[in-house]
């Protein structure tokens, strides 16, 4: 209606004008307003309309779909159960089977027990009966997940196309025969196989095809050590050490608690590291000279930072002082000199109870080490049963590379190695490799080498393979398959046997070889069940040549940095870098996951203008730097590492892979680029480049700031001479202005539940025995179906590890110094200054590792705040978490003083946003069927492995007997080869945990808040001889 019409129609009525526009009868605006509320269409909905659905529509859809989902949820799904047609007699659904087998992937060596459920391997445990070699470390524990890697090759491939084995074997046979006839050279490049039967087969192959030569390639070389041993003792092996026999351990850059010379030394080391006043047991002294801050260095009583050039001099000096020869090498710093004096003093005080070890990559150095230990008659070194796990030869390898590049080689067969990734000059090698007439690669994944190969022979995982090993002279081990090959794969020994036309398979070969040549008095069946056979009828090795000194040591120029390459506890040499558990595993020292980085001292970083800083949500960022050795360049993030020697930087191997793995795993840079001449120390120059790197660091605060309630530390003299009340006092609180013990009843606001009947579980963690290796973290992952959340989420502090190993640096020289500095302050200003100072770690700090899981407080703060009683307490001491009851308020996590509760921010299982292992059928095969997979919006935490204690109890009930001490285990206590974590029932008065509970060193975390945890810690005692 126009205004005019209105006036005509309603003449009698008064007319009100809404605006001047209404006077204009022609106005379209007025007309528009008559019909619509607004003149123009509101922009609010336009976007949604274009998209096809408005906000209201969205709400309708949500409403409808949730109603439909709710209705659909009322009908239970039809679940099919398919029993076996013929059930294997050893498999009972719901009951786990254990098989003894062996891992020897070139980087990790261990006799293990594999837990299988319904035929699926789900967990790795150490085979403690075969204790003559090291126990399973974090990588070995995680290796079960590598079996279910979605990126495995599913069958043999020729030029990228799947084929069948017969075709491939025939083609390979024809090729090899041709090369044999034409006398063309073929090289078999393998990892070290310390396997008697495998070596027999390789020898047969070499006999059949004389044109084939065998080159052994250890990805991270120990060639210098082997050369030194060979020079002196005549066989290519490495000395074995037993640190439990050493009172003085002088280590010059030997990271023997992680991967030094094959690793596995930590259990022996720990035996002498736990003092006990009541048994008159003292502890060994461990002095470490090193460049990077290593796991071993962080556990040392005294740690002296030294540059690689100085390390050589130190050994030379120690050698000359002990043997009385002349030291021709130059001067060292006064600080280092003092510690050399100390170590000589210590060694001479009990020479045969001392041992000197070194990780310096130099033949002469390694010869001197052997000689030092010989001249002090060290009991800790074993020459007669040496380690056979490394055989690689740098010289042969270099020769192979130059021949390959010059085209003298026609064909290459590789097994267990990935040279196109791990060789320093892999780009040029790749060219030559692709130009080969023939290349056959045995690989589990389509890695860099397999991508460039003509024939890719899909290999079995070690859990699908047979094998036999001799790790040490006389220490024989067997490997057996724990599952049928998941794909159409074969192990290379069987491939070669078929190639050679043998009618036996590898299993039959091993069996006959063992029965005829190895076993004496033990049956094959028993050996297979045990997984090992020891025959230490050692031979007596005589030294044949003794070198006297190091010929030359170079001086560093001040402009350049020494790059010290190392292998990380999680990733190692990189063979398992597509394992999400290991990628998410935080490095024990830096606490950074999903990355490698250049570790640098604070003062060097300052000089170069490189920074580390925390962003607003706490996550850590760091500057990028360019490193160059003249030929190669890399852009790497820099992480400031307390304890890193000035003038040196560290970079970890194993990262920067680009093939055969999911995209999310392709993290870090390839440090092998700088592994020139297979030497771990290189000279590089560093310059700052623009940009910041985002780290996934899960510990944002690195120091204790003098809070002695979390880490209690004392030194051995105080421990021995003073009462407990001096070095481990019970915390006092004030009640009515009277100091009262926090453990006394008067200050307790809770009603105590009597737990003296039945089981009462406690967990003891010995800070002296824990060296931070992290095997427990991975074991917990495997046992409890802990999800992997990825780098972005870890950065947001949303990691899901139920068990974390906190690492603290001291701000002063010791943690006790921190406490004193804090207590010595007076006045606000001084207090603030001290606090600020205590926030930063010292240049060469003391380090302590503290595993923290749910403390299972008897008076748990989390339980009182849960609005739905989803977390409650059991009579056996566990703080229980009922996931199905949890509504996700997260009050409990906020009220937990130990910050051990983990929230499922997302559905991590069956969610492709988290492309790790729980989103595919293959990866889910590793899940423990006895433990729930938690859903979104649910809180979770350590349960003290209640599924394991319940099983132990049920086993006892079925047998009608009591539980024996040692039967109760958690995943972490079971994984700890060092005895740092002990679990048990304190109501069993004869149990080990009861004894530990009564020890003077026992204390509880944050005792003053009165939570009465069921987890106890043992005070860390150091044996520092600070000079």
């Amino acid at each position: 209606m126009s205004v005019q019409n209105v006036t005509i129609k309603m003449k009698s009525k008064k007319l009100y004008w809404k605006g001047i526009e209404q006077l204009n009868s022609e106005s379209t605006i007025v007309e528009g307003l008559e019909n619509n509320e607004f003149v123009e269409k509101l922009p609010v909905n336009s976007k949604q309309e274009n998209d096809g659905a408005s906000r209201r529509d969205f709400l309708k859809y949500v409403g409808f779909s949730s109603a439909a989902a709710a209705l659909a949820g009322c009908e239970g799904p039809v679940i099919k159960s398919v029993p076996y047609v013929v059930q294997p007699e050893q498999i009972i659904p719901g009951v786990a089977n254990y098989y003894a087998t062996t891992i020897a992937d070139g980087n990790d060596f261990s006799s293990i027990l594999v837990k299988t459920r319904e035929g699926r391997p789900i967990k790795i445990e150490s085979n403690r009966d075969a204790s003559s070699f090291g126990d399973a470390n974090a990588r070995v524990h995680a290796s079960v997940l590598s079996l279910y890697d979605a990126n495995r090759i599913q069958g043999p491939k020729i030029s990228g196309e799947y084929t069948d084995w017969d075709t491939m074997i025939n083609l390979v046979k024809v090729s090899l025969q041709n090369f044999k006839d034409q006398k063309k050279k073929v090289v078999l490049l393998t990892q070290t196989y310390p396997s008697p039967t495998t070596n027999n087969i390789i020898n047969e192959l070499l006999d059949e095809y004389p044109n084939v030569s065998h080159v052994i390639y250890d990805t991270i070389s120990d060639s210098t050590v082997l050369d030194a041993f060979e020079n002196i003792y005549g066989i290519r092996a490495m000395a074995d050490y037993d640190f439990s026999k050493a009172e003085n351990i002088i280590s010059i850059d030997a990271d023997f608690l992680s991967d030094w010379q094959g690793g596995g030394y930590s259990a022996g080391y720990t035996k002498t590291r736990v003092p006990d006043k009541s048994n008159n047991k003292t502890m060994s002294y461990h002095l470490q000279f090193e460049s990077n801050m290593t796991l071993t260095g962080s556990n040392a009583d005294d740690r002296v930072p030294a540059k690689p050039s100085q390390l050589k001099k130190i050994i030379s000096r120690i050698h000359s002082r002990i043997t009385g020869s002349v030291d021709l090498n130059g001067s060292l710093t006064p600080e280092i000199d003092k510690y050399i004096d100390l170590s000589i003093e210590r060694i001479l005080s009990s020479p045969n109870k001392s041992v000197v070890v070194s990780g310096v990559d130099d033949v002469e150095v390694q010869e001197l080490i052997l000689q030092i230990n010989r001249s002090i008659n060290s009991e800790a070194i074993d020459i007669n049963n040496p380690r056979l796990i490394r055989k690689g030869n740098n010289f042969e390898l270099s020769e192979f590379i130059s021949e390959l590049n010059s085209g003298k080689i026609s064909g290459v067969i590789t097994s267990g190695v990935n040279p196109l990734y791990s060789l320093p000059n892999s780009e040029s090698v790749k060219q030559s490799f692709q130009n080969l007439e023939f290349s056959l690669v045995f690989s589990e994944k389509e890695d860099e080498t397999a991508k460039s190969a003509m024939y890719v022979a899909a290999s079995n995982n070690y859990l699908e393979s047979w094998g036999d090993y001799e790790f040490k002279k006389g220490n024989f081990l067997l490997a057996q398959p724990t599952i049928r090959p998941l794909f159409d794969t074969i192990q290379f020994q069987d491939f070669f046997l078929k190639l050679l036309g043998s009618n036996e398979n590898f299993y039959e070969r091993i069996k006959s070889n063992w029965q005829n040549n190895i076993l004496k008095g033990k049956t094959w069946g028993k050996s297979l069940q045990d997984g090992f056979y020891n025959d230490f009828t050692s031979f007596n090795l005589r030294p044949r040549k003794l070198s006297s000194s190091i010929s030359s040591t170079s001086e560093d120029s001040s402009e350049e940095f020494s790059l010290v390459l190392y292998s990380k506890t999680g990733i190692g040499d990189g063979s398992q870098s597509s394992n999400p558990w290991l990628q998410e595993f935080p490095d024990p020292i830096t606490r950074v996951s999903w990355d490698n980085y250049l570790t640098m001292s604070a003062s060097d970083a300052n000089k170069l203008g490189l920074k580390n800083y925390n962003v607003s949500n706490g996550a850590l960022n760091g500057s990028y730097a360019n490193i160059s050795d003249g030929k190669n360049q890399l852009k790497v993030p820099v992480l400031i590492q307390p304890g890193q020697t000035n003038g040196t930087v560290g970079l970890a191997f194993g990262y920067g892979k680009t093939e055969g793995m999911k995209d999310v795993m392709k993290v870090g840079v390839n440090a092998y680029t700088f592994y020139n001449n297979f030497s771990k120390t290189q000279t590089i120059s560093i310059s700052k480049v623009k940009g910041d790197h985002e780290f996934a660091c899960i510990q944002l605060h690195n120091t204790m700031m003098g809070r002695d309630e979390i880490i209690k530390e004392t030194d051995i003299d105080t421990y021995n001479s003073k009462e407990k009340s001096y070095w481990n006092p019970t915390v006092m609180v004030s009640k009515n202005h009277i100091e009262t013990k926090v453990t006394s009843k008067e200050v307790d606001i809770w009603r105590e539940f009597d737990r003296s009947t039945g089981h009462h579980f406690n967990l003891s963690i010995d800070l002296n025995a824990c060296n931070g290796c992290g095997a427990c973290v991975i074991a917990c992952h495997a046992e409890n179906n802990v999800p992997v959340v990825g780098k972005e989420e870890v950065r947001k502090s949303r990691d899901m590890h139920w068990l974390r190993i906190d690492r603290y640096f001291s701000s002063e020289d010791t943690f006790e110094g921190d406490v004193k500095a804090k207590e010595g302050t007076s006045g606000f200003r001084e207090y603030r200054a001290t606090q600020t100072k205590l926030e930063t770690a010292a240049e060469n700090p003391k380090v302590v590792f503290q595993p923290v899981m749910c403390q299972h407080c008897n008076h748990a703060p989390c339980e009182t705040v849960c609005p739905v009683a989803a977390t409650s307490h059991g009579r056996q001491g566990q703080n229980q978490m009922a996931y199905n009851r949890c509504v996700g308020t997260r009050y409990c996590a906020n009220n937990c003083p130990y910050k051990v509760r983990r929230f499922n921010w997302f559905a991590y299982a069956e969610n492709d946003e988290f492309d790790y292992n729980m989103n595919n059928d293959l990866g889910r095969m590793v899940l423990n069927p006895d433990v729930n997979v938690r859903g979104r919006g649910v809180m979770e935490k350590c349960s003290l492995c209640i599924q394991m204690t319940q099983k132990t109890i049920l086993d006892a009930k079925k047998d009608g007997r009591r539980v024996v001490d040692g039967e109760f285990q958690t995943a972490c206590s079971n994984a700890c080869s060092d005895g740092a974590i002990v679990f048990g029932d304190i109501n069993d008065k004869d149990s080990k945990i009861s004894e530990l509970n009564q020890k003077d060193r026992a204390y509880r975390l944050l005792e003053s808040i009165g939570t009465k945890p069921n987890v106890l810690y043992q005070v860390k005692v150091t044996n520092s001889k600070k000079v």
């Binding site: 099919k80 978490m881 006895d930």
Partner: protein, 433 residues
């Protein structure tokens, strides 16, 4: 409905007639052969001898460990059979061609010798083997039908008669009313059909009464809350769930009629958290010899002998058993059973704890399985149901594991017997982890 009912009525009327007829047939069919053969040999005696001595390896109409025996008298000479049954192994040794042929055919399995049998006994057995029993379906069918329907006949008749009477009464009432109205009209009486009085209708009275509305609304809300709660509480509870299985397996026949121990098949209930669906090789422990069903039938539901025998054939095809040649072909088709008892993933339940340690009868939770033709979920399997039992059940103090804790705790709580709950059996994480 009506039609079906009518059918039954007619059937019921005819049934007595049929009975008479069939009894005559039954007598002639069943008794005639007895009369005719009993002069030569006693078939009944032969049958019991057969069952006691031969049935382990022989069937009448099909191969088992040994050959099918039906018609054996036609294949072999009687004298030869006497010798064979008494000392067959000697005949094989002596190289009797027929004996050796059988021996070769049946995997060189030697038949047990029965030297103790008299000629008469062997005759009886042979008579039984050559006796063709009358088609058994008729007799048993009639028997079960008549016995099972006896009670329902009278009920149905009473029902029908009552309905008939009521219908007649209603019709009569209408007729009477019509007649009366006619009479009234004829006599000029005016019947007031519309009672238009000035009274407010009932519904308006109710609407105006606010208190009543209030009460009604409250009542409505309460009752709807009650039913909603009831509905929601049964969500996810599948009590009575009895899915159709790929093979009709009757617990009634196995656990009931044949009294097979539950844990013979569900053996992992002793050691594992799963009771386990038996693998097919367990079925074949018996069914290698039991190829056909000879037990009772349930014709009302269609469970005839043929039906059951056919289900056994399904087992054979799944396990890959070649019945003709008595060999496994290796061609297996695993059976996809429909799982009946489904606990949510967040519940941990262990059969060994209950069946082995606590020695609870399977029937306590699974109901009268031995009476179930089709297996169904007997218990609600709700948490409340679990907890109730844990509150009431006592632990076995004779188990050495429990001894000390039982002694100490019972003293503390001042009770003779401890319940599972008192030992911590209703803590969350005992079942949820």
């Amino acid at each position: 409905m009506v039609l079906k009912h009518f059918n039954i009525m007619i059937k019921n009327l005819i049934a007595p007639l049929r009975m008479l007829l069939i009894k005559r047939i039954f007598l002639t069919v069943l008794l005639f052969p007895f009369l005719s053969i009993s002069q030569e040999a006693d078939i009944q005696a032969g049958k019991s001898l057969f069952n006691a001595n031969c049935a382990a390896c022989h069937q009448l109409n099909r191969k088992a460990v040994g050959p099918a025996l039906s018609g054996v008298t036609e294949k072999y000479d009687k004298e030869w059979l006497y010798r064979w049954i008494r000392n067959g192994s000697q005949m094989i040794k002596d190289g009797d061609p027929q004996a050796v042929a059988i021996w070769e055919e049946y995997n060189r399995a030697v038949m047990t010798n029965y030297p103790q049998f008299s000629d008469e006994q062997i005759d009886n057995i042979l008579a039984y083997t050559s006796f063709t029993p009358p088609p058994p379906t008729n007799t048993s069918a009639i028997n079960t039908e008549s016995s099972s329907q006896g009670s329902s006949i009278s009920l149905n008749i009473i029902l029908a008669v009552t309905i008939l009477i009521f219908t007649i009464l209603i019709v009569m009432l209408f007729l009477v009313q019509r007649t009366l109205i006619k009479i009234a009209n004829a006599s000029g009486l005016k019947i007031e059909t519309d009672t238009k009085r000035n009274i407010t209708p009932l519904w308006q009275t109710i609407v105006k009464n606010q208190f009543l509305i209030f009460i009604l609304v409250i009542g409505f809300l309460l009752s709807s809350a009650y039913f909603t709660y009831g509905y929601l509480m049964q969500v996810g509870i599948d009590q009575g769930y009895a899915p159709i299985q790929p093979i009709h397996y009757s617990h009634k026949i196995h656990a009931g009629a044949n009294q097979i121990e539950c844990k013979y098949c569900h053996s992992s209930a002793r050691v594992s958290k799963h009771s386990g669906i038996p693998s097919l090789n367990v079925c074949m422990n018996c069914h290698e010899y039991i190829a056909e069903y000879n037990g009772e039938e349930d014709l009302e539901n269609g469970y005839t002998r043929d039906f059951y025998t056919n289900e056994i054939k399904k087992l054979y095809s799944a396990v890959g058993w070649d019945e003709q040649n008595q060999v496994y072909t290796g061609n297996t088709k695993p059976v996809k059973w429909v799982r009946i008892h489904n606990l949510p993933d967040f519940v941990y339940f262990n059969h060994a704890q209950h069946a082995q340690v606590a020695k609870i009868e399977c029937q306590t939770c699974h109901g009268p399985v031995e009476e179930m033709e089709i297996m169904y979920q007997y218990s609600p399997l709700t948490m409340g149901w679990c907890i109730d039992c844990h509150r009431e059940s006592n632990v076995d103090k004779n188990n050495e594991y429990y001894q000390r804790i039982h002694e100490e705790l019972s003293k503390k709580y001042g009770v003779e017997k401890l319940t599972v709950a008192q030992l911590g059996g209703i803590e969350c994480a005992k079942c949820h982890y």
